[in-house]
């Protein structure tokens, strides 16, 4: 058995082994193996290529851009996605614009341990994918499975553009698979995580599992829920979403990020403009509440969508 976290480690080990241009830079990633142990033993296995960074996110990302210009393929580990904000300027204004301005590509991978876990509070829980997806020039990946964590991270490193790799901390230890995949869907392709004919739920990352649990709950009530896992939110596989809605006529989009704008709004906008005639009822979305992420598990459990709230939203849409 291999966990989501181990898959991330294995992908980095393979990237380092396969490509001498790859190196890893981040706080505590060296001999310590990272705050979450995503780089465990890599410094020993790949001497000189897994480096501890000072607490300097702006400079970490900036240095990666410079190294990429010179032909390297850096992987930057930000300790928590939330701490990417001091590096935001370099990510959105520099990495994201480089190719467009110069025709020199910027093959960097920025790993963001994302999303909420109980007791983590407002600064160790954020889901920032929508923010990064807003900027042209970035690819944004949001793997929901062990297999995708592995194969998509390898693809992120191989892609010639800056990739924001949003790995979900809640899945790190919870999620296990039999082994590493040998093949994978290409990035940009969504996956039907569960087939169903009555309603489509479009989601990504940890919320895929809440939605699958909700779908399971609704079986007893006679409903078949189709769950689409976007895998990457930019590019966003509109065709797979539309094809699913064409089969079901109903749409719920679920995301752990805040409601204003963002991924779920984008899904609804696309389906409303391109697939209005496919919808039997108005589409709906479910997000976290519009406040910072609370610390206490009682509050956190209500702040984010869960299998229960997804199931409730599904029932409401199914009864329309």
């Amino acid at each position: 058995m291999i966990t989501y976290l181990e898959a991330i480690r294995e992908a980095q080990a393979k990237a380092l082994a396969d490509d001498p241009r790859v190196y890893i830079y981040g706080q505590d990633v060296g001999s310590f193996g990272g705050a979450f142990k995503a780089t465990k033993n890599l410094a020993k296995e790949f001497p000189g290529r897994v480096l501890d960074a000072p607490i300097s996110e702006d400079a970490m990302v900036g240095s990666a851009i410079g190294a990429a210009i010179e032909g390297m393929r850096p992987i930057i580990e930000i300790q928590y996605a939330d701490f990417s904000t001091p590096g935001f300027n370099q990510i959105v204004n520099h990495a994201a614009t480089l190719f467009w301005r110069t025709e020199v590509s910027c093959p960097i991978t920025i790993r963001l341990p994302s999303g909420g876990t109980a007791g983590s509070g407002p600064f160790h829980s954020q889901s920032m994918e929508g923010l990064y997806a807003h900027y042209p020039g970035l690819v944004v990946m949001t793997p929901a499975t062990v297999e995708d964590a592995y194969s998509m991270l390898l693809e992120a490193v191989a892609i010639d553009d800056p990739v924001i790799f949003c790995e979900h901390k809640y899945l790190y230890y919870h999620l296990k698979a039999e082994g590493l995949p040998t093949e994978a869907l290409p990035v940009g392709k969504a996956r039907i995580a569960r087939q169903g004919r009555d309603i489509t739920v479009v989601t990504y990352s940890a919320m895929v599992h809440e939605c699958l649990a909700a779908a399971e709950d609704l079986v007893a009530e006679g409903y078949e829920v189709e769950v689409v896992d976007l895998r990457s939110i930019k590019p966003l596989d509109t065709d797979t979403v539309l094809a699913s809605v064409a089969r079901t006529g109903r749409l719920l989009a679920v995301g752990e990020a805040w409601p204003w704008g963002g991924v779920t709004a984008e899904i609804l906008a696309r389906v409303a403009s391109e697939g209005f005639g496919l919808l039997d009822v108005p589409p709906r979305r479910l997000n976290a509440k519009n406040t910072p992420v609370p610390y206490h598990p009682n509050l956190w459990g209500t702040h984010r969508p869960t299998a229960q709230t997804v199931a409730r939203a599904l029932r409401e849409l199914l009864r329309l």
Binding site: Q27, S31, F123, H296, L299
Partner: protein
């Protein structure tokens, strides 16, 4: 005991602040031990971060400040919080997520404060508090208040942030009465000084900003009281920002989840690894500033306060999501409630 021992010859007038600081340090240490045991028993959600080894420095800062000053404590400042006036219930309620605490269960552990009382609650992003304290001091200046000091702390790791640089430079340009205490405890999580900065001593940076720099051995309470006290006084009397760089060793993991096995035994056994609390205790006895019986009584009193606070808070309600006001604006009619 020899008369030439500087500790023994310390003047009696120094007893009062020393003993007071010791008691804050002791209360902080014992409270944190209690919190660590609650954490191990699964009673605390999220992390627990101890100030073990940093109490002398932190208490000295809290004591040098006075009501009306601004203080933005950081991760390892329980002793300074107490000395600045934090109620033990604020600490316990935040750690246990009580609805009745200042953060109402919305925030946990060290992310707490009371801005209206001059205690700014940290955000996690290291370096972010310094400029905020600067702004607080600018506001006091606009309002014509004089003699105010603003203080905050940061670790050796936090000095590598852009925020640290921007804020210190701003403070220097504005000649603000800022006291920035850098607790160089040799490690930022697992990262040693050698991977954090390459200057000989962080205090050398003061010259680059054009501000006063001070060094202090944070294992020595006398030295902390003296150096921090003088720096705060200089800030208060118009000498601009003061950078204090204290050396010590973190005597705990980064958080209680971390066994800190990366800290070499040699370092722990060196002078840096001395425990400021134990050193202060020895000094109290040697100088006959306190008897063993008094020390015991202080400890008992601290433990009693802690047990009482924990017992009180454990009976308090957890936040109720249904009663929670899910609004992040103070202007509720401007809240965007679409879909809620």
């Amino acid at each position: 005991m020899l008369d030439t021992d500087p500790r023994v010859s310390a003047p009696l007038s120094a007893r009062e602040p020393f003993a007071q600081a010791y008691r804050w340090m002791l209360l902080a240490r014992l409270l944190e031990e209690k919190l660590a045991s609650l954490y191990r028993g699964g009673k605390i959600h999220g992390g627990v971060f101890l100030g073990k080894g940093q109490e002398a420095l932190s208490a000295s800062l809290g004591m040098a400040l006075r009501k009306g000053d601004i203080f933005a404590p950081l991760i390892r400042d329980q002793a300074g919080r107490f000395a600045f006036g934090e109620d033990i219930l604020d600490a316990v309620r935040t750690y246990l997520g009580s609805k009745l605490g200042p953060m109402r269960g919305r925030e946990g552990n060290v992310h707490r404060g009371r801005p209206r009382e001059g205690c700014y609650p940290m955000i996690s992003h290291l370096g972010a508090m310094i400029s905020v304290v600067c702004g607080g001091l600018m506001a006091r200046r606009f309002k014509g208040e004089t003699g105010v000091v603003g203080a905050t702390c940061i670790g050796d790791g936090g000095t590598s942030t852009g925020s640290f640089h921007e804020a210190l430079n701003l403070a220097a340009v504005e000649k603000l009465p800022l006291v920035l205490v850098v607790a160089n405890n040799q490690f930022a999580y697992s990262t040693p000084n050698s991977k954090q900065f390459a200057c000989n001593d962080l205090v050398d940076r003061a010259a680059g900003y054009g501000i006063d720099g001070h060094k202090v051995d944070a294992t020595e309470l006398d030295a902390c009281l003296d150096v921090v006290g003088r720096a705060v006084e200089r800030a208060r009397t118009g000498h601009g920002p003061q950078l204090i760089v204290a050396t010590l060793l973190r005597l705990a993991g980064h958080g209680e989840h971390d066994d800190a096995s990366y800290i070499e035994a040699e370092l722990k056994e060196s002078a840096l690894g001395r425990d400021c609390l134990r050193e202060a205790e020895c000094a109290l006895l040697e100088r006959q500033w306190a008897s063993a019986a008094e020390l015991d009584a202080w400890r008992e009193e601290a433990l009693r306060q802690i047990e009482e606070a924990v017992a009180t808070v454990q009976r308090e309600p957890a936040p109720d999501p249904n009663a929670e006001n899910w609004c992040a604006l103070s202007t509720p009619h401007l809240d965007d409630t679409f879909g809620h």
